[in-house]
């Protein structure tokens, strides 16, 4: 290794992996319901899609985590996005492709993808 660019390249690659270990209360939390109902409905690929996308795109202020049963088992897989100071957004009947869309538009673009939220009656 001879240049700063090489050093920075390794740093950026590793930063996404190391960042997960920092605890920060100001970050956006993406919570995936991973109770039996969620897992049965396919929550695992959703969780994986979120965590991969967040690390790939280097979203350092986003924390992807899992939780137990959210209580609306018929709408699983459920994903909640909790941003400090804003109302919680609940996405229902998610899959990996929808997750990628939510990362792109909501987490990066800041726009709620309303066609997948619980408020959308067509989904129910």
């Amino acid at each position: 290794m001879k240049t700063l660019a090489e050093l920075q390249a390794i740093r950026d690659k590793m930063k996404n992996q190391v960042d997960i270990r920092a605890e920060d209360s100001s970050c956006i939390r993406v919570v995936v319901g991973m109770a039996t109902c969620g897992i049965a409905a396919g929550a695992r690929p959703v969780l994986k899609a979120f965590s991969d996308a967040v690390q790939e795109k280097g979203l350092h202020n986003v924390m992807v985590t899992q939780t137990g049963c959210i209580g609306l088992c018929q709408y699983e897989p459920i994903v909640e996005i909790i941003e400090p100071g804003k109302e919680k957004v609940t996405y229902i009947k998610m899959d990996a492709a929808k997750a990628a869309e939510v990362v792109e538009h909501h987490l990066i673009g800041g726009e709620v993808v309303s066609k997948y939220t619980i408020g959308n009656s067509e989904l129910k």
Partner: protein, 597 residues
Amino acid sequence: MYRSQVLICGGTGCTSSGSMKIAQKLEEEIEKNGLADEVKVVRTGCFGLCALGPIMIVYPEGTFYSMVKEENIPEIVEEHLLKGRVVTRLVYDETVAENEIKSLNETNFYKKQHRVALRNCGVINPENIEEYIGVDGYQALYKVLKEMTPDDVIKTVLDSGLRGRGGGGFPTGKKWQLARNLVKDADQKYVCCNADEGDPGAFMDRSILEGDPHAVIEAMAIAGYAIGATQGYVYVRAEYPIAVHRLQVAINQAREYGLLGKNIFDSGFEFDLDIRLGAGAFVCGEETALMTSIEGNRGEPRPRPPFPAEKGLFRKPTVLNNVETYANIPQIILKGADWFASMGTEKSKGTKVFALGGKIHNTGLVEIPMGTTLRDVIYEIGGGIPNGKKFKAAQTGGPSGGCIPPEHLDIPIDYDNLISIGSMMGSGGLIVMDEDNCMVDIAKFFLQFTVDESCGKCTPCRIGTKRLYEMLEKITSGNGTIEDIDKMEKLCYYIKNNSLCGLGQTAPNPVLSTLRYFRDEYIAHVKDKKCPAGVCTKLLSYKIMEDKCKGCTACARKCPVGAISGTVKQPHSIDTNKCIKCGACMDTCKFGAIIKE
């Protein structure tokens, strides 16, 4: 990409309670549940809370599992990693709040800490250089080589106010400046690292080498650039196998990545590093003895001057700093002298790592800003003294330091304050004592250590410490007189003033400081022939209280020398001439009828 990472402590404390086996089991279970692509296991250095080891943290949630056992692993993997349900029962109690899990940083143990030297310990995998680079590692070395002159580097370190963390507290920048400028035409200079941590109960340097070896390597290269050295040596004791192994792995990786060796970052600067193993002699922590030992000779000190900055290793100008001192350097370069100088007190800047031990709840490693009070360290971070006992003293500085009594609990900890009350910072061992500790016995313990470790080169230390020890022995066995105490004090000052090196010059400190604050205990030993704490066995006698004794004969059957007599259902008695004071009777008695006084 992993969605979750499980950090498991690979420090010496947790390793000896089985953390590496747990890590292996964890990997097996993760594999079995098909999570190998999703969850990664990372073996890190010390988290600090050694009392609760083996320690495991699951990220991104930051769930802190303490005292983990191998048989808990399947449950944690299935419940937490697979289904996302935290196994609250196994989580560190302090982080469990109603309905939620608190962040580790909000617990009493971590709240008041400020981690600079330990910032990567328990966070990164020390055997992977890329993880260190991921937390801004080697950026400081780049900055120094490309953007700063050696004089800039020295000025930054000087301005930061960093002082030697090995005990003496000499300004680090000053040391570097002397090594750079004192000898103009030196053909070779050296950078050395003192990792010969020998105080009983101290494990700061060990944990840094185990948890963040690259920080030390990077800092030594920076020091090499600053003073104009191309070769460095880390002198580490062979009794630290994990530290030695990780350091060697780190050095090899740094060479592989071109961060050690010739023409680093294309700057023309050359620096390499080697490990020298110490055999564990305490005196080799003294700088001149350490360098004599690296040279391949018997580790004995020599008089100073000449100081190492002028004639050090192989009689060449040498900088020698302690592990913790080096661990601060990359941060100072990256964040600036002002940032570092903003922490701490007027004359002691930055933070200090302490190894908490003795009669305290949270045994472990803590890093606090200079100027934190001892009360905060013991009662808040340390969690207080177990079993409701009263605080009696804290010992800092190991065998070279002294005791701090309760009346000084609120003194802000820094170099000068500790010296003013007759102790010293030392390398950072902090042993807490409660009312069950006899201060004369403590002084004797440390003296025994220095008697064993005196290298024998100079008479005041070799014979003086031995005689001092014999006087303490006489006092604790009940044969001392008041004159002995005065004689002892005189001898202490004689040893202090006439010894060749730091070992002898500080060896009487434990005696002097206990005499200063606990003279009444010494007097109780010689005048009343009593040990107030009930430690010195020769001054104790066991007695059966007749009104409490039920005559169950349990003690009489247990006594190994047949010193207890009496008939069944009648109060028994102890023949003090036969009694060997083993205490077996007291442990056996169910009625609390036996007392020692």
